[in-house]
């Protein structure tokens, strides 16, 4: 099943013609309307007219998360604010958020691309889609919601939290498709078991999961536990939100919507493209965005491109599942943060040493975060107390990061530093 067969199965040559047309018009627009890009292009002595082919793309400068933050809030918008009908922000929890905007046409395009991803994942207008993504600044909830509505499915904006109630809804409203993070799907599976509800009491057929990395083993587990077909989808707010790519029912890679995005995979060190099929950092250029066009955005996500055609008939290249990050950003329960954020919080709290370690584990369905903190002046007997320093840190971190964090106080130098190098993150999850 396709949502837009003429676009999704476009002949490669025609696709490339469309891509270069759209790249050139995007460059003409950002050069005219976004001072940041004009300055950057001028500085490199490059003009939009110098880009005559898709391979010329590599002559353009990269854009990074810092560039987006540095232009907070509206500096990278290519249209006046009165043409923007929606504003989202990345799920960065502290510091300056990355703010993105959408025109009416952008919302329409976005809905269409999400509709493609949902259709590829098995969803039709006859489905009841439960969107268990947060509705808010995060693009996940609204992105999937609009796409599912576009298809004509019955959409339940369940948002996040209160899993028992979500399961009740799932059962009573006869939800056929669950949209969430994969870890939330695992939690749902566990909770159903605990509540003693047989899977046969549910009507679930499909699961469309994204917003965090997961593994083939997790897919198997979710599919078995919920009796569904689970597909992976990918997106990020800086280039659109969900809808950049998604798996079809073959479940062997995510089809990129190449008529709207140009993708490259580069070596994060040399910044040169890696040979096809090899792992590297995904770089995305938008081809049709009006309000927030993006040139060569370094996603920091590690993946590979799959050029071989897919049996499903879609002609867009696929990307493998995201296998990691090129920076130290952590994604826990869909929330993104950097270890450095924890560090700066600890520095504000008296009595702690700037030595810490973040341990991430996956217990059953959900990720658990434990922060080990060296606390010099605290007697051993106090370290286990509910109140006191440990509790203060726990509250601060939980509040600032927006996810539950456990804190363990340890003695000075208790955290090992092999070869003097601190290990800030121990990730025991398997992807």
């Amino acid at each position: 099943m396709y949502w837009e067969p003429d676009k999704e199965c476009l002949d490669r040559e025609e696709l490339e013609q469309l891509q270069i047309e759209r790249l050139q018009s995007t460059l003409n627009r950002v050069y005219a309307h976004v001072p940041f890009y004009r300055k950057k292009f001028d500085g490199m002595g490059i003009a939009p007219e110098d880009i005559g082919s898709l391979t010329d793309l590599s002559r353009l400068p990269f854009t990074t998360k810092d560039d987006v933050r540095g232009n907070y809030p509206y500096g990278l918008f290519a249209v006046p604010l009165r043409e923007v009908v929606r504003i989202h922000a990345s799920s960065g929890t502290t510091g300056t958020a990355a703010v993105v905007g959408y025109t009416r046409n952008d919302i329409k395009m976005w809905s269409n691309l999400v509709a493609r991803v949902l259709t590829a994942g098995g969803v039709t207008k006859d489905d009841v889609v439960q969107v268990s993504f947060g509705y808010g600044l995060f693009t996940g909830g609204f992105g999937l919601h609009y796409g599912a509505e576009r298809i004509g499915a019955s959409v339940i904006p369940a948002s996040t939290g209160n899993t028992a109630r979500q399961i009740q809804i799932m059962k009573d409203f006869k939800t056929t498709a669950l949209v969430s993070t994969p870890s939330y799907a695992m939690l749902v599976a566990d909770t159903i078991r605990e509540m003693g509800i047989p899977v046969s009491a549910l009507s679930l057929k499909y699961g469309l999961f994204g917003a965090e990395p997961w593994s083939e083993e997790m897919r198997q587990e979710i599919q078995d536990a919920l009796g569904i077909v689970a597909t992976d989808n990918y997106g990020l707010s800086e280039v659109l939100g969900p809808g950049v790519s998604g798996e079809c029912l073959e479940r062997n890679g995510l089809h990129i919507n190449e008529d709207h995005f140009l993708v490259e995979v580069i070596d994060p060190e040399t910044l040169q493209p890696v040979p096809a099929g090899q792992k590297g950092e995904l770089v995305i250029t938008t081809l049709t965005k009006e309000a927030f066009p993006m040139i060569r955005y370094r996603t920091r996500d590690l993946t590979r491109l799959i050029a071989e055609p897919c049996p499903c008939g879609r002609t867009g290249r696929r990307m493998g599942r995201v296998v990691g990050r090129t920076d130290d950003m952590l994604i826990i329960k869909g929330v993104k943060f950097f270890p450095s954020q924890i560090e700066s919080l600890l520095l504000e709290i008296e009595g702690t040493e700037p030595n810490y370690q973040i341990v991430i584990d996956r217990k059953g369905a959900m990720d658990e975060v434990t922060v080990l903190v060296e606390a010099a002046g605290v007697p051993f007997s106090d370290r286990r107390r509910e109140s006191g320093l440990g509790e203060t840190i726990r509250k601060r971190l939980t509040h600032e990061l927006g996810i539950a964090v456990e804190v363990k106080l340890v003695g000075k130098d208790a955290i090992e530093r092999p070869e003097g190098k601190a290990i800030r993150v121990v990730d025991r999850r398997k992807f």
């Binding site: 025609e14 003409n28 939009p48 249209v79 009165r82 043409e83 046409n105």
Partner: protein
Amino acid sequence: MLRIKNLESGYGRLKVLKKVTMHIGAGEIVTIIGANGAGKTSLLRTISGLIRARSGEILFDLQEIGALPPEKIVFLGCSMVPEGRQVFAPMTVRENILLGAYPQYRKRRGDAVRDDFERIYGIFPRLKERERQLAGTLSGGEQQMLAIARALMARPKLIMMDEPSMGLAPLIIKDIFAIVTRLREEGNTVLLVEQNAKAALGIADRGYVLETGRIIMEGTAEDLLSNREVQRAYLGRDLDAEGRM
């Protein structure tokens, strides 16, 4: 059908088109909209060989036509309805139409041309009524029909029209655009250059916005119609004023 890549052309030292890349699929109506002087007419004149391209490629049915003389391009099936009709005023309507058959006349027998006359009079009954009249005595709308009829006699695969609505009354514009739609229904492919962006986007499948020789936007006609920049610049809508009302 037509695929253009990085096309640059101009007059003398003046570069009008800057890296124009676009395409038209078979059976499509594609419109180029843009302000006066944006390069719309230059683009059509370059495709039809009246101005030589400085660089870039123009593929018509996968054949490079950038270096061909205009008459060869017409022979291949790419005809233009020029801006301001350019009918031969002292000749009759029938003679004007017959001139358009010249490329076909060399290839095919005379009775085939007679069949074409019947086909074209089917589309333009008004021209049949005025067959013997001098072209110069026709109204603006009729002259536009005549210019289209003349182009059709070459049995083009692609018809390029330069400002067919120019100087015509709104009711006549409606007639002309209905004809364009009909041509497409009969299997023709149309490239329509228009300042009347609203009317053009109303019948087109896709469009390109040309600004100072550069394409700044590509999209379905529907998307371009709902783009606020296009609305303000080319559709003459003052949205903020409308919002206040």
